[in-house]
Amino acid sequence: MRKVIAVLLLGIVGYYIFSSFLEIPFGENRATIGDYYLENSVEQTGSVNTITSIIVSYRGFDTLGEVTVLFLASTGLAAILFDNRGRKRRRQHASLIVRIGAHLIYPLIILLGAYVFIHGHLTPGGGFQGGAIMATGVLLMFMSYRSFEVNHKWLTYLESFAGITFVTIGLSGLIWGDSFLANVLPLGVPNELFSAGIIPIIYIAVGIKVGAELTGLLDNLLKTIK
């Protein structure tokens, strides 16, 4: 009985949503602020990736809010799963092929993650993607070896240092420029590595912070398995 009522209600809701989506034509250009960002982003910010310049320079304050939400999620998970008996991990070793393969691939994955967030203003990529790739590399090592440990003090120091760097760069824009997170370093030539002012520095800080947070989250979850 409950299922029939649910399907009926969802049918009515789906019909109205679909009939209002039929009025949005698919594939036509109707943006006004998107045109402004596309035309002026290379001269005003110096980065050729328009998404990066929107996330870091035009809407940089929202990125600060998102980094805070991820930090709260990671801390909240550690607080919910807190167990003061101090259980250690007892897992099995993986097989020989997985162990040797993980040992060979792990530095390459960390290098790929660092490449993705350092070149965030030239190619598709950025801080969040690079941080997630690094956390996946550390997860591979967690699952292959029984005794691979990560020092939690180092993770805390890395994360706090990256967060303080972000806010300090924003405040330096307030002191020497017009507003919070203004571009105070020289813009340089577009399409080169050392260009676009403060954008690479902020993305490196965000990438390190996201990688450290996701590693701590996975470590807290894996520690609770008996």
């Binding site: 993705v116 598709p124 990529g125 969040f128 997630a132 956390a135 398995i225």
Partner: protein
């Protein structure tokens, strides 16, 4: 869009809906999680076809790898079969 691309989009959309129904109706929770990660893979291909490479990278890195592993750890700590 050429004709081969349109046919591929239709086939992938059918696979997407079948994977979503499979994830909701299965009683074995591990198979439901595999259906969720199949949704993320097809979604990543759709984001690339719609000319959004940043979003495709993010969905492939976060939705496929990390979201599946936290579901599997939760299933290991609780029960595997529904009711």
């Amino acid at each position: 869009m050429t004709d081969a691309l349109t046919i591929m989009v239709y086939v992938l959309a059918v696979i997407l809906i079948i994977a979503a129904l499979f994830a909701v109706k299965q009683k074995d929770l591990l198979l439901a999680v595999i259906g969720t990660s199949a949704i993320s893979v097809v979604l990543s291909i759709f984001f690339y076809i719609l000319q959004a490479p940043d979003v495709a990278l993010t969905e492939a890195a976060i939705g496929v790898a990390l979201s599946t592993i936290i579901f599997v750890i939760t299933i290991k700590k609780t029960e595997r079969h529904e009711e």
